[in-house]
């Protein structure tokens, strides 16, 4: 059943309340829950933290919106808590990292497959292959640092092989900007996709920046430093595809619509009944937020929200393995590079281009992503199982 974005009112803002006990409920099971339950939890925490980030920026620039934004933001703070606290404490920070990369791969793959604008779709495929490589590098670190199998987290839904090598993902800022969609002509789904993925990447960046220094191992510290830098590039890339000429209120409405869409997608696919009830509650809350944003948009800008909102929500995000799609993209596009806002083949990249010079210096004293994964192939049960076979063979 499609959700009518313009008429569904959800729960009124003043009825949206929490207790600490609700916010801190039993977490998901790392062992028993489906990997996509964790993917949904991480994705939605990313949406809520973006809601906070956007709302604060908007409040700093718009005196008249400060109170309504503060009211909505308070609820979003508690939604973010309720969602993020579902991650169970038996996840090591590195195991959670593996899950973050699975989110980046599987959700971006869905978006790339369904994005109506070919240039935007290309941009998502380009970014996806980089996050795909991060999963491989972090899996090598998890195996070689903690002696754990990344597939315990990803549950065979995602391949663990190299993508576009992280060592060459480092680009000069001028090669990370893309062309934005045009707010007047772009499909609503294009706008929702851009906010959705930007939010996820921003969260990932902030997560790596926070947990990187928690590691004692210098290899881990370097790898987090390196991949956090790429995530910064990804945030730069994905925020640049959003039309900067959208008004603040337009952006607010689109943020709320994106949250409704994402929660609604989670609700459609959730296998854990307790978590499903949370998604239902969040859909109803977000519809309430959307109403507040639309009301201000219409009153202040004197424009009809129908100009920017789709009548019904697009097909929900497919929370499933995108293995075949990812493999096809890997096969066809791993050698793409960026020059300005365009994509080129590696053979066209000039050896004196800003990105080549930039990464040559960054990597000049060694590359953590190459070091950590040197000679690494994922195998069930970790690399140590191979050592065991080798020892037996040698005995």
């Amino acid at each position: 059943m499609a959700l009518d974005l313009r008429n569904e009112r959800g729960v009124a803002l003043d009825k949206q309340r929490f207790t600490w006990r609700e916010m801190v409920s039993p977490p998901i099971s790392k062992l028993d829950d489906d990997a996509f339950t964790r993917v949904r939890v991480i994705l939605m925490n990313g949406q809520e933290t973006e809601a906070q980030r956007f709302s604060h920026a908007c409040a700093r620039m718009n005196r008249a919106l400060q109170l309504p934004l503060a009211r909505v933001r308070r609820v979003e703070q508690h939604q973010a808590t309720m969602i993020n606290w579902l991650i169970s404490p038996d996840h090591s920070p590195l195991e959670t990292t593996i899950a973050y990369e699975q989110v980046a791969i599987e959700v971006t793959a869905h978006v790339a497959e369904h994005e109506p604008d070919p240039y935007m779709a290309q941009t998502y495929r380009f970014g996806m292959l980089e996050d795909f490589d991060h999963l491989y590098r972090y899996s090598a670190l998890l195996d070689r640092l903690e002696g754990k199998d990344a597939n315990n987290i990803t549950q065979s839904y995602s391949d663990i092989v190299p993508g576009r090598p992280t060592v060459i993902e480092h680009r000069a800022p001028e090669d990370d900007l893309r062309r934005p969609y045009d707010r007047r002509t772009a499909d609503a789904l294009t706008k929702i996709h851009a906010t959705l993925i930007m939010a996820g990447e921003h969260q990932t960046h902030d997560y790596y920046m926070n947990i990187g220094p928690l590691f004692a191992d210098p290899v881990a510290r370097q790898l987090y430093a390196e991949i956090a830098s790429i995530e910064e590039q990804h945030v730069t890339q994905y925020e640049s595809i959003i039309d900067p000429d959208e008004t603040w209120l337009e952006k607010w409405v689109l943020h709320e619509a994106t949250e409704v869409y994402a929660y609604y997608s989670c609700l459609q696919s959730e296998s854990n009944p307790r978590i499903k009830a949370i998604w239902q509650r969040m859909v109803d809350y977000e519809l309430g937020h959307l109403q507040v944003a639309v009301e201000h948009f219409q009153n202040i800008e004197k424009r009809d929200a129908a100009e920017i909102l789709p009548a019904t929500l697009p097909d929900p995000i497919a929370f499933r393995s995108h293995r075949d799609f990812v493999r096809k993209v890997l096969n066809q596009e791993v050698d793409l590079r960026a020059r300005g806002t365009e994509y080129i083949h590696a053979s066209q990249e000039d050896e004196h281009s800003p990105s080549v010079l930039y990464r040559s210096h960054l990597n000049s004293l060694g590359s953590p992503s190459e070091t950590v994964a040197a000679g690494y192939s994922w195998r069930p049960g970790t690399e140590v199982t191979e050592l065991m076979v080798a020892t037996k063979g040698g005995a």
Binding site: D33, N151, Q155, S156, I160, V161, A374, P380
Partner: protein, 250 residues
């Protein structure tokens, strides 16, 4: 009640654990094929070792250091020990470690006690009173080291370098004990590692104190060592009883 409820849904019951590759018999072979197609460089893992070694070799700065003595008495003792060729800060660092360890130990037992409070007597595993007793002994050991640190002219509020690394060690145990989902048996398993390390710690500290000529202190530390050995024995016994009972072979 709580313990009965746990027995109703024990972590060893058959459930939906999805972590193994056998959960995905179709996808896993495809994953393995893809992974095996990656060219492997022999000895590749050595590069990670080299990076770690480089940092070890280039990082002369330790985690931290010992503070200077705070009282004239402490200064005098340090000077006398140094004159004999001893390094008294080693003893003080290890005492600081035991101080921190015992202080954290009381908190670990606080967390353990929550797991048994209100549970019916089953005759298996520790009773509430048993854990209170062990907690009280951890506290007494804390007081013991505290008293001697003050006597030696040291500041007992200092976090010494070995106290700091002992704190890092304890973090995993603390996570197991405070997770509401873990069973008493899983918690006993975790705290056993702490108790075994504590026993070895007291043994070493006793030896160190005796070599430093602190005979009376060494005798008191030896008593603490004996107490900790008893903790080991009791925790091991409870753990064994509980695991054997869970397995139906008690």
């Amino acid at each position: 009640m709580e313990r009965e409820k746990r027995q109703g849904s024990a972590p060893t019951d058959l459930g939906m654990n999805r972590t193994g590759v056998s959960t995905s018999p179709i996808d896993t072979p495809r994953m393995v094929d893809a992974a095996m197609s990656v060219p492997v460089i022999a000895e590749g893992a050595g590069e990670m070792v080299n990076m770690r070694r480089m940092y070890v070799e280039e990082s002369p700065e330790p985690i931290g250091s010992m503070p200077p003595p705070v009282t004239p008495k402490g200064m005098a003792k340090t000077a006398v020990q140094a004159f004999k060729g001893h390094k008294p800060t080693v003893l003080l660092d290890k005492m600081g470690e035991r101080l921190a360890f015992e202080r954290t130990g009381t908190r670990l037992y606080d967390a353990m006690i929550v797991k048994v409070v209100g549970s019916p007597e089953t005759g298996v595993g520790p009773r509430h009173a048993d854990l209170e007793e062990l907690r009280a002994e951890e506290l007494r050991h804390f007081e013991l080291v505290h008293r001697h640190l003050v006597r030696l002219g040291a500041d007992p509020t200092v976090q010494t370098p070995c106290a700091d690394t002992a704190g890092m060690q304890a973090m995993g145990v603390l996570q197991v004990l405070t997770d509401p989902r873990t069973t008493l048996s899983q918690c006993l398993n975790a705290i056993l590692t702490t108790e075994l390390a504590d026993t070895a710690g007291w043994e070493l500290l006793t030896h160190l104190a005796r070599e430093a000529g602190e005979t009376e202190m060494a005798d008191e530390f030896q008593q603490a060592h004996l107490n900790e050995q008893e903790h080991d024995r009791r925790v091991k016994t409870w753990l064994t009883e509980m695991v054997m009972t869970d397995a139906g072979v008690a």
